[in-house]
């Protein structure tokens, strides 16, 4: 006769077997699902970004947003390079401003480092848009063509600025960090060759008109590069390379397009949609709600120049004196006020 204990013993041994095998199933079965998370709602997977026009455009437009962020924007480029070139008189006690004004900056300090760092970040973004669009088969053909051309234009534009700021620089034409981390400086000529190739491709593929956010409809805003923007930069690149005939050829393309481009009065030259403007950058929202451009915010003085980093420079005497007496730019663009005197 089985005693109670024996019965129980058999009983629970089987139960143990069951429990253990259940756990083994849990273990062996690749329950990867359990540890797989969906991407968070504030992130978009790269491959999905370039599967729809909307998100691909957003990735491209982010480049223009990046070109206007707080550490690198048209004001920063102009103010620091202007300080270094003595176009400005400095009032700021800020170290960076002082260093640039007295030519004591070194490449590891900002903003010099910022130009380098953000410059290559924008080039990365341009390469990412180019590659993403190139690999995508679901984008509308005209959008894809425009975005890829814009990406090439931006890539050329930033290489152009970097080569002029730093001389020999690495040329970056892929997003692969394994390649890019090993890229060394190449000669200025080689950089220019690439810039010219990119700009030619951009000139060929960019829309003739200025486009809206949807990258299809036409707008009066001049805040996306079109074919003539590429031509204008190409002209400048040839000019810098002393290829004057080619420079003239491409500049003429812009000048001859007089439906869009013509001289306006000096007062309205910098205005939004100005007919003199070839390419304007919109200050992205939400900044745009309080400021139109950082340049205007900083160069138009409302009180005596500050010692901070805002509204802290005036035109240098040398530059001021170099204008001819009746230069329209001098009379229209430079103000003076006794009440602002120090």
């Amino acid at each position: 006769m089985k005693t109670a204990n024996q019965f129980i013993a058999i009983h629970w041994q089987r139960q143990i077997t069951f429990v253990v095998s259940l756990l083994v199933l849990l273990t062996l079965e690749s329950c990867k699902k359990i540890v797989t998370v969906e991407p968070p709602v504030n992130l978009a997977i790269t491959s999905k970004v370039f599967s729809s026009d909307q998100t691909a455009i957003a990735a491209m437009l982010n480049i223009y947003i990046s070109m206007n962020n707080s550490t690198i924007n048209s004001f920063h480029t102009s103010v620091f390079l202007g300080l270094a070139a003595d176009e400005f008189k400095n009032y700021s006690t800020n170290g960076t401003f002082l260093n640039f004004y007295t030519n004591q900056y070194n490449p590891y300090d900002n903003p010099s480092l910022d130009f380098w760092k953000y410059g290559y970040n924008i080039i990365y973004q341009a390469n990412a848009v180019y590659e993403g669009c190139n690999q995508s088969s679901s984008l509308t053909t005209e959008v894809k063509r425009q975005l890829m051309a814009e990406a090439l234009f931006v890539r050329a534009y930033w290489h152009f600025y970097l080569v002029n700021l730093y001389g020999r620089i690495p040329l970056v034409t892929t997003t692969d960090y394994l390649v890019n981390r090993a890229t060394g400086r190449i000669s200025v000529d080689q950089v220019y060759t690439s810039i010219i190739n990119d700009l030619k491709a951009a000139e060929e593929n960019l829309s003739e008109e200025y486009l809206n956010g949807d990258t299809k409809t036409i707008t009066l805003d001049r805040i996306r590069p079109n074919r003539y923007v590429a031509s204008a930069l190409l002209a400048r690149v040839y000019l810098f390379n002393k290829q004057y005939a080619l420079a003239e050829e491409h500049a003429s393309k812009v000048i001859n397009r007089n439906v869009i481009y013509k001289l306006s009065t000096a007062n309205t030259a910098f205005a939004n949609r100005s007919t003199e403007a070839i390419w304007q950058l919109q200050l992205p929202l939400p900044n745009a709600t309080t400021v139109n451009t950082f340049d205007a915010l900083n160069y138009i003085l409302t009180a005596k120049p500050s010692t901070t980093t805002i509204r802290c420079v005036t035109i240098s005497d040398a530059l001021f004196n170099s204008f001819e007496p009746n230069d329209q730019r001098k009379t229209n663009w430079i103000g003076s006020s006794m009440s602002l005197q120090l």
Binding site: L23, E29, L43, A58, A59
Partner: protein, 1094 residues
Amino acid sequence: MTISYCGKRYHAVLPRQLKLAMKLTTLLLIVAFLQVQASGTAQQVNLNLKAAPLTEVFSKIKLQTGYVFFYAASDMALARPVTISIKYVPVTEAIALAMKDQPLTYTVQGTAVFVKAKAKTTDVTEEPVAPPVIDVAGKVTDETGKPVAGASVTVKGVAGKGVATDENGNFVLHGVDENAVLVVTATIIETLEIKISGKSYLEIVAKGSVKLLDEYVVKGYYSTTKKLNTGNVRIVAAKEIEKQPISDPLGALQGRVPGLFVEQTSGAPGRAFTINIRGENSIANGNDPLYIVDGVPFNSTPLNSGNLFGSARSTSPFNGLSPSDIESMTILKDADATAIYGSRGANGVILITTKKGKSGPTNFSFSAYHGVARVAKFLDMMNTEEYLSMRKEALANNNLQPSTTDHDLNGTYDPNRYTDWQDVMIGRSAVINELQGDISGGSERTQFRIGLGYRREGNVFPGDNYMTKINSLTSINHRSANEKFTANFSANYVTGYNKMPTADMTKYINLAPNSPALYDSLGNLNWQNGSWTNPFSEIVKNYIEVSDNLNASSVFGYIVLPDLKIETRLGYNKSALHQKNIIPFSSFNPTTPDPRSKRSISWVNSHVSTWLIEPQVSYNVKLGRGSFDILVGSTLQENEKELISHIASGFADDEQIESIIAGTTKNVSQYTPSQYKYFAVYGRIGYSLQNKYSVNMTARRDGSSRFGPGRQFGNFGAVGAAWIFSRETWFKLNHIISYGKLRASYGITGNDQLGDYKYLSSYSYTSSSYQGYTGLNPTQLTNKQYGWETVKKMEIALETSFFDDRLSFNASYYINRTGNQLIAYALPNTTGFSSVLANFPAIVQNSGLEFELDGGIVTNKDFRWASAFNISIPRSKLVSFPGIKSTSYATRYSVGMPMSVAYVYQYTGIEPATGLYTFIDQNNDGMITPAMDRSFIVTGQKYYGGWNNAFSYKSFQLDIFLSFVNQTAQNYLFGSTPGAFSAGQGNQIRSISDRSKFQPYTTLGGAIFTNNGLFNTSTARYTDASFIRFKNISFSWNFSAHNGGNKIINSGRLFITAQNLFTITNYQGFDPESRSNLTLPPLRIITAGVAINF
């Protein structure tokens, strides 16, 4: 039957018996998770019953030991109720105790116990033939002479013959065989057998309990006895925690546990402590231990938004626990103890257990204290006269005249004013009040505890700043009548409110001493015509943190068979923090243009919630003289984290700001949701042989969503072994060493403390838009191939006790090696980013020695002195880091050197001719440059530890706890330029005028200035920052109150405590622990209070 799991189906044919058994476990299987606890291994019995039926005693013994009782129901009618309280008593003795005084006899055959009624007639007939009987009296005392009350004295082999000692340890037994053997048992002594040998009075001295070694050690998923434990586990009990008048329980661990380094970097209320167990293993990722509160992982990362904080900077999530609610904190250190936590165990584990109710009469307890916190030491700063002469000298040295911005010298500031800014900024006394109360009690089967408390802590900063906290803890424990089912529940909720200045006001103590008055004649902030930024604008701004923490844990257990237990834990934790920063226009100079846009509010909500299901099965089996403990379990866990940050500005007036919607500009500036999923299977096999040898194997397979596809799963495990050599027969002759154990362990743990989604190639939405499109920004460069950091841990240790366990000495040596370091591998900017996450074959080694000495020095009846000392000697080394020179770590670490290093210029003193600082020009190029002339020096801790002395005399008790650290760290200098005046600040320590130590004053610019910059990043900035701190002194008087025979107060205690009372150090500056003269040092806190139980 079909079991569906993970979308696939398995068919299993189950035996019939199994289906029956499965019914029992349906509840747990519904969620398909099982869990365990090691059931008692030895044939020992724990009983705690009051007037219980004998059958209940039988069923309990059966449950715990497997002994089966056979009896006739009619005989049980004769049985008397049993009151018994025993722990770890061998089964036969337990039966004997239960049967004493019963009109029943019994015999034991194997594991069967046959019980029957005593034949009344045989008593009479047998008596005359029995040997001569005598009456025996005696007294039972422990080794210190203290009477052992309530010990049971029974006659061996005679059922029902026995008495309990009275409160003086006395007993009398009538009619005992003069050759009989008495068995003396009690929980606090070792069971003892004494031959009467005809004596009528016996002085019985019982060995004080070795029970310390039989204490259970909870190692998270399982427990073992201290004796058989193979790993490094250290427990800090409530009595050590509750003596300290602090808000964050982690602060109570400082100096208490070898290998656990706790540093208080600021005295601002709520500030998080720096904590690590056995050094920092990871170069780039988290080095936090894994914290588990009642079985549920607790978020230890401050929830503050990265760019919004107040004077406390990162606030500790552990303020969401109250020290008074904590029963114990257990620190798990070596591989044996931590490998079962797999990928989360690399940096050690801290288990926090909250208080539970105990059965018995309802107990009300209440405690309250009141105290004051102050800065313990102030700096000797210059007065106005000295300050101004320093400034004038500085200008003269630079050939300068006071400029328009030298407000302190050019007449803008009154040269005769003097303000002691230390007194203004941190000179106040902060009042601390705390009230705690709880009710606990319950029956044998159901116990509860409800605790509630309130704490308010003021600020030493100016303004109306304070931190309050309300804590509540509820716990219920239940066992079913058949003792098979258990349910435990605990819920801890704490809500905190912390109002603080927007900055640590200590940073303003070096304001020029002749700075203007803070307020004008009208009581408004004085801006002195815009010449300074009034520091009290930080107080006019409001910074508030509201925190909520809920930790709930339920454990359901079922004893399927005496040795087989299934258990499931269901846990939930939610920590939330709401930050609010209100900036009114009144915090600006009234002449500031555009007041509307200056008024703003930042509003951040963040929370992390965790749920967890942890089923486990435990099983115990004996094979011959050995015993196996087997455990299998699984963890399913998910964390959700979310942070949303809003900013609103453009308010018409200051009153509107808090309404938020009145602002003209409202932005959501940050939104970061994240999710973490975790799945694991773990197991343990413990084997012990003859209570002499013990082996413990643990393993865990972990899957974590923090890694990319194919890299999510990892295996971890450890083996530990212990040999209790004092149990060897050859060793027992030894009379000095009463206990000795050698143990060793080796294993692999992992570290997954990195951010979520790092493997994902993604774009993130920005808060900016262009042409109506919200920008999509590439988030990061991605490497999908990265995996865990692995920490290999090895430890050998010796545990010994001397002189009958009065003194204990433990020593351990460990080596932890972390490889596969997951670092942000620095990339040139040409890649578009500065780094990419990648595993790197860098190896970090942390090794060290830890010693603990613990003993009762004096144990008289009235006077006792116990002392406990621990010391840790940590060593760290960067063993290898291929290609370190090309990474961003080139200036932070050096291969072959410790992990705590500084990369500095080598200061060589003052050049007598020029009075300037000089440094070693390492490359002899005639210049001191950052790239070429810096080298590494060793900083950090050489050793640290603590020493506790507990004295008691009658009802008075004095505890003195010292913590000590020997370290090299940054010195007291401000790091500023003596002589310069910037943003209203410029005052210096008086000793800066010593020209034998410091160079002449300077303003910004020039050679002296340049040299000063080098000086601040040179060896001259490092100094001995060792200290011995009287961390906690507590003096108390215990009392009870009677009214006639009735106790009104069961126990009461009046106490005075002093935290950080004084510090012995050569360190100049506020404090060698906070080490900065610009942050608030740890405060000296003195409190007095009362605690009563009734």
